[in-house]
Symmetry: C2
Subunit: 665 residues, 2 copies
């Protein structure tokens, strides 16, 4: 037999949450509570207690809180993670002989068979436990033991009553007169990110399209002027596509055509030219000082700046010349370009992560991140991480976050679920999702249940984008305002992180390259655009309102995932978000049909909403400002896509006061 550590007298099994046997931490943010479950039991009918103990990494002491039994040997506990960093936790169980004795006493009482000797035994157990304690706790147990000894038959009933009083439990559950403690097999881990890991609203835009002068491309100076508009819309993060010099070889023209006209600006993702590579700035945008000034202005406005990490090179990137062995060479000596048969992207060379020179390559890539981190960047949107090796990301992200725990990495991966979820396990703090293509009610419900449950729910933080420069889904291509509005509400409320690519989104940009194609026509990826922000049809007011609701409502910033509620119309979807203590509860109802008024009856999960069965309660629509008086689970909802195709309803329970005023638009 393999010699393995034997089990203890106490079984501690099926601890939750746990990811990959504890090798991968669960994700939390400061102020979260980690809820822990475990199956804890001993032989026979022993009285068992359980506690969760945890330690902030780097501190010597473990803290401990009792768990509560849920029945069937299942226990529940929780502990707080107030600060960023790493924590570990374990579940402990032990036999409490006094509890064992008292449960036997209860059965003896029921059977009418209690004797003074039984009480004497209980007192002896308490005295014995007291010897393992000091101070007031020991004194209390001894006093209780003394009081429990019946002096005469007449006092038996009183002694029994005293013995059954659970007062000693507070001592026995928390102080340690514990022997034979059994622990969960592995110390499990929590990674607590910085506060901005909890929630964010992103605005992606191309700096070169921010010029007020239609005759020239935009610069960092123009971008700075634009930041006030973005801040006013209520966003937290401005995400810039690559800001580096753009290659000239095989440069693409407007609408991804070849050959490009001489003045074509090229795709920002064809990174690298004579002017430099991933740490250089495109000269037309400005220099590093201009970049710094932009970061400062953003900071003044309460905005963070996210940069794009696209680890690939144009043929003109300095690395192609300086480090040819970082690229894959074909037998004829040429470098293999990116390829997706029948297409070859000869303006882009993939990096060969398996090169024999990997140590130098990996170091250089980390220096790219280090460079921008030193400039103050704390968010990176990583382009196509699923085509680079997992071990590279694990190393890179761990190294960067070891020095700068407040740096976050958003994975722009659209690939198989196994790979997307694995990227979260190797270190990506956030991830793009398939939200853009989940449009019907069953698709949305199934997908968000998948994202909320099991290990995925513990590690994978979804970031929702209704559009991106690469993704104009078919449903937008009719240009219907209500589609833009209902997708905005879904993105902003189904998860704590979302973003839009603007000004395309708020200006209802919807023409595809070809009908049914998901590329934008006249895409900013290949040309400079000049947007008219004060277009009267702009959705800026609605975006502003939705972002204000997000800011005012902790329910929408909570790590708690959406819970879906039944509603008897397939075009209507309903879900709620809430804080852990239900001090803020929102119910969102969306009409997914852009063309028609839809109505239906809800079948609400009242317990989730914190509403007592049969209670009257109010829901305040934070979008329209309307107030409805509801009763029980079944309530009528009607949504007109010509107005707002959604309700964001704050649930106001009887006798409670809304945590924020209804944000009537």
């Amino acid at each position: 037999m393999v010699p393995v550590p034997g089990p203890s007298r106490i079984a501690v099994e099926d601890v939750w949450p746990v990811v990959d046997d504890g090798r991968v931490p669960i994700q939390r943010v400061p102020g979260d509570t980690v809820e822990v479950f475990a199956t804890v039991f001993a032989e026979g009918s022993n009285g068992v207690r359980a506690s969760v103990r945890w330690q902030r990494l780097g501190r010597r002491e473990w803290e401990r809180l009792p768990m509560e039994p849920l029945g069937n040997d299942r226990w529940r506990g929780e502990f707080p993670v107030p600060d960023p960093g790493e924590y570990r936790y374990e579940v402990e169980g032990w036999v409490d002989p006094y509890l064992s004795w008292r449960s036997l006493l209860d059965r003896r009482v029921a059977a009418g068979s209690v004797t003074p000797l039984d009480l004497e035994e209980g007192a002896e157990i308490l005295r014995s436990l007291a010897t393992r304690l000091r101070g007031p706790a020991a004194e209390k147990l001894r006093a209780r033991a003394a009081a429990m000894r019946p002096a005469a038959g007449a006092e038996l009933a009183q002694a029994v009553q005293l013995a059954r009083d659970p007062a000693p439990d507070a001592i026995l559950a928390t102080a340690p007169p514990r022997v034979g403690v059994g622990r969960s097999a592995a110390a499990l881990r929590v990674s607590v990110g910085p506060p901005h890991a909890q929630h964010s609203a992103w605005y992606e835009l191309f700096p070169r399209s921010t010029s007020p002068d239609p005759t020239r491309p935009g610069t960092f100076r123009d971008l700075r002027a634009r930041l006030a508009y973005i801040a006013d819309l209520g966003f937290d993060v401005v995400y810039l596509p690559p800001i580096h010099p753009i290659g000239r070889s095989h440069r693409r023209g407007p609408n991804n055509t070849l050959p490009a006209p001489p003045n074509a600006p090229g795709s920002p993702w064809a990174i690298g030219a004579a002017e430099g590579g991933h740490t250089a700035i495109h000269p037309e945008l400005g220099d590093i000082e201009e970049f710094r000034a932009t970061l400062s202005e953003a900071k003044r406005l309460g905005l963070m700046v996210a940069l794009d990490l696209a680890f690939q090179c144009s043929p003109d990137h300095p690395w192609v010349r300086e480090h040819p062995n970082w690229f894959h060479h074909l037998p004829d000596g040429s470098i293999r370009p990116a390829e997706n048969p029948p297409k070859k992207y000869d303006d882009i060379y993939p990096i060969d992560f398996s090169t024999d020179d990997a140590p130098a390559l990996w170091k250089a890539l980390k220096e790219v991140v280090d460079f921008w981190v030193a400039e103050g960047v704390r968010w990176f949107r990583v382009d196509n991480p699923h085509t680079k090796p997992f071990d590279f990301w694990h190393w890179l992200i761990a190294e960067v976050r070891r020095e700068h725990p407040d740096v976050l990495f958003l994975a722009e991966a659209f690939t198989r679920p196994t790979v997307m979820y694995h990227l979260a396990k190797v270190g990506f703090t956030h991830s793009y999702t398939y939200f853009a293509w989940r449009t019907s009610k069953p698709e949305l419900e199934e997908y968000f249940r998948e994202l909320s449950s099991g290990t995925v729910g513990e590690t994978f933080r979804p970031h929702l984008w209704p559009n991106t420069p690469d993704i104009l889904t078919v449903q937008f291509q009719s240009g219907q305002r209500s589609v833009f509005l209902h997708r905005l509400v879904l993105a902003a409320t189904l998860a704590s992180h979302y973003g839009i690519y603007g000004p395309a989104y708020e200006l209802l940009e919807h023409a595809p390259l070809e009908p049914g194609h998901e590329e934008y026509r006249d895409s900013e990826k290949f040309e400079v655009r000049h947007w008219v922000l004060d277009d009267p049809k702009s959705l800026a007011p609605q975006v502003r309102q939705v972002n204000r609701i997000r800011k005012e409502h902790p329910a929408l910033r909570s790590g708690r995932r959406p819970v879906f509620h039944s509603i008897d119309n397939g075009a209507l979807i309903a879900f709620s978000r809430r804080t852990a203590d239900r001090s803020d509860v929102l119910l969102v109802v969306v009409n997914l049909d852009p063309g028609s008024v839809q109505s239906g009856w809800t079948a609400l999960d009242l317990r989730e909403l914190g509403v007592p069965d049969g209670a009257l309660f109010e829901v305040h629509d934070l979008l329209s400002g309307e107030v409805y008086r509801w009763h029980g689970a079944r309530n009528f909802v009607r949504l007109d896509p010509a107005r707002w195709p959604a309700h964001i309803l704050q649930v106001v329970r009887p006798g409670s006061v809304p945590s924020a005023p209804p944000g009537a638009g």
Copy 2:
């Protein structure tokens, strides 16, 4: 951050089977195949291979077999465990650059964009892989590489065809031109028991009730004479309740009454008297020589003998005097007897496993087992193991089985599922179940699905008893023959281990102590009984027939659990058992209604039965000898409880020959 070993380029996740992260072995018997599943993938669209590798403990070399992809990055493999002992296994994955290249080639072919340079690249990869191999494998890869280089454009199509041929896969999947191998996190364990761990049919009887002379109790000599009857019934194991001296203090009389008359024999579970304790033999049964002779005769008849391990003592047990500190003392100095309020069992003292003298106690208990093992006993039925500490059993069973891997332990535990399943994890090789109380179709289906799935199915081996000396369930108390018959068939076919308590069972003993009570009236636990075996109503012929079917049909001895099939009558239950290769497939249909003929239509899972869709096939009833011609999933079944309330149908597929002749009664 906690420094943890980083992931490799390859993700190997969600390996199955695994119990408690690999700390607990899965259970198998010699000749079994272990089927292994894992999720294995790398970044991007790389070609990935996976294999399962395993090692017999104590051998140096690992063996390895390729796994097959099931889609969605899930893989399946298997490996044989031919011999008793411990094995460990892991899953490996690696990127096969040739496979990556070939899948790209397939896409290029589809796009019509293949160039000679593409083939040259593939040839280079093969040549590079060949450098990591020797001998014929390397030669084959080099030859293929040479042949793949098109000399001229005209030969391109031919070279492509050659390149797409999967011939090199056999080398690339098994021989090791592997780099960057990723492995599952832990080496997982298999415990392969002795052959008799796979299946057994038990017969429990009281030796003192085997006397042919109604004026005296039975002896080992009488028991020896009875063994031929038991062997003739087709049983494998004779299980004897405790054979030790019986205490006199507080001895119970017939029907568990007090005080006992002077000649009362007492309960065999009140172990220990002046004559000795757990290693002594009750003088009325015989001496150790008589016991040895009994074991020899059993062996001659192909029977094993199982003893009872009841770790408790009568007040007269020598240990009570010699080791008073092995028992729990009350404050008045008395020893606390067994108790289940309002009842106190003052004829039995529980052992205090938490005594300060635990090392000596545990050693003494192991010496009890060692004593009987030295006499040749290989099966122990353990009385109430769930009231003794898990760590004690883990230690005891591991120690005994380290020296004698062919010793098996059957847990007689009826308690919460968590505890019953945990006993299997700490070492019990087999366990009693709740079968006796699962009588309706939904109860049986739900319970056996629970026993067959997840970690329970991998560790917990059910042993089914329709009755025991403690358990006469209400359904038998009418004495209906068809109940005894259908419960016999269920017990003998739903699992590979079953037993009956006889001759009570075959003689239809059914009078309860009180109506609705599960104790037998005039129970053998408290008095000597004299059974008339040649009673014409005896079910001996039916028991013999069922046991013969078990012996003839490997499907019923297989580790594979029952699979339930739909049948449109709630009184009829249908399930199948089969060998791994489906060379033996049985479909059992049971009428659970003892009073009425019941009929219904099946909806068979034909794939499980190995019958092609829409095929005609035969089913041979091994009980009645009848043959039915069936077609597809829907077939008619009718069962008359006045005849046999069950079919045991051998499925004879078109063109196949039954592996055993139909066992017509």
